[in-house]
Amino acid sequence: MASGSIGSLSLIQVRLLEIDQILGRFNPVPSFEAKELAHDCSSANVDVGNQTLQRNTFMPDEPLFILDPPHQDPPLIAKFDIEQEFEGSVIAIDPDGEMFMARLVDVSGGGPDEEAEFSLREITDDRHLVVPGAIFSWIIGLQWRKRQAVRVSEIRFRRLPPFSREAIARAEARAHELAKQDAAPKLPSAR
């Protein structure tokens, strides 16, 4: 295999050192676990890096090394004991009064739907998402940040991407189906 060199180090060695420096451990021993994990998407924390690339580029049969990314801290919010959770949808906005009206569905308790007014001042980052029809979650409960419990009432707007072509196609197919059903005579003919 042809490769260039810098001083006494080959380009491959330089690259290895760079990556090793950035990512941590250098493990020259191909591991059974690594081979298994390369095809497994069950784990959120992975100890395997770009094994395929390295194998193809440098050594056809054996992985040269395994990238082991540094341990990643979990999110700060470790737990959220939900006391009440609503799914809200924006009905109307009053920019002058700095308010918006929303219909709330009680997700946690199964209570009746309600309507409520919210101050737009409560919404800072998500302000541009407050439009009629926008969906948000409103969660009231005890949030565990590491070992500290904080009582919170959090409104978070859904960042729902536009529907995919596949979802639109499914909806259209369903609409055609319903239209056909509607077109079919439901009552005996007058004739």
């Binding site: 095809h39 395997v48 770009n50 979802a167």
Partner: protein, 233 residues
């Protein structure tokens, strides 16, 4: 007589969506997510960035962790209150990167089962792994990890993998992970690549999480209803 009369406490420990394919980690900077309106700008500003490099990107916000390697994308939350926001983020990401080659995906739920007594904790181990086959093979056999693969209940290519492991730090907790695994491009439903990820999440991330929770509940119910466990002699 039942093995355990006290119902253990079960809660979600971690929810994640993992995809396997070919990724370009260096673009997965929190500011990219904010620019694409997939994350709040303030969250991107305050994100704890561990590394953003051509081979790996890793950062976390208050509620979310993202790690991207060249062959793997992982987004996870600890609090299930953010489940729908996790699915919005991953769905939005792959809708923006719709030409990214993605071959497999998994929607994963990790639940922690906390038993009231150490005896109940051992009893689950005996229930999952009967000890009589190990008689005179080894002394004091104990369950370290069990992987059980089941068939999907729908037409998608893939499987459901259930992993049961005791939490080594305690004598009361068991971790049960349910991996709802999809092979993209091998089904007859046209679910390929990034579009497949978007479609699968759109069709049922919430349902997948509910199914995983029901799976764990069912397993624990079977355990609670069982007769005497098969212990070591």
């Amino acid at each position: 007589m039942k093995v355990a009369s006290k119902k253990p406490e079960i809660r979600v420990e971690d929810l994640s969506i993992v995809t396997l394919g070919d990724f370009n980690p260096k673009i997965f900077h929190p500011m990219w997510f904010a620019k694409e309106d997939l994350l709040r700008e303030s969250e991107a500003d305050e994100a704890r960035i561990e590394v953003v490099h051509q081979d790996v990107a890793a950062f976390s916000t208050d509620w979310l962790t993202v790690q991207v390697l060249r062959d793997r994308f992982t987004a996870s939350v600890k609090a299930d209150a953010y489940s729908s926001h996790l699915s919005d983020l991953v769905r939005g990401t792959f809708q923006k990167l719709r030409h990214t080659p993605v071959r497999q995906m998994g929607m994963n739920v990790l639940r922690r089962v906390r038993f009231k007594t150490e005896e109940d904790w051992h009893a689950l181990g005996h229930f999952i792994l009967p000890k009589s086959p190990w008689d005179r093979v080894t002394s004091k056999p104990g369950l370290r990890s069990v992987h059980v693969q089941g068939q999907r209940s729908d037409d998608h290519a893939g499987y459901v993998l259930i992993i049961i492991e005791p939490d080594p730090k305690t004598k009361s907790d068991v971790l049960i992970r349910v991996n709802d695994h999809y092979e993209l491009g091998e089904s007859d439903q046209g679910l390929e690549g990034a579009d497949g990820v978007v479609a699968i999440i759109e069709r049922g991330h919430k349902e997948s999480v509910a199914r995983a929770s029901a799976t764990v509940d069912r397993l624990i119910m079977n355990f609670l209803n069982t007769k005497a466990p098969d212990k070591a002699k």
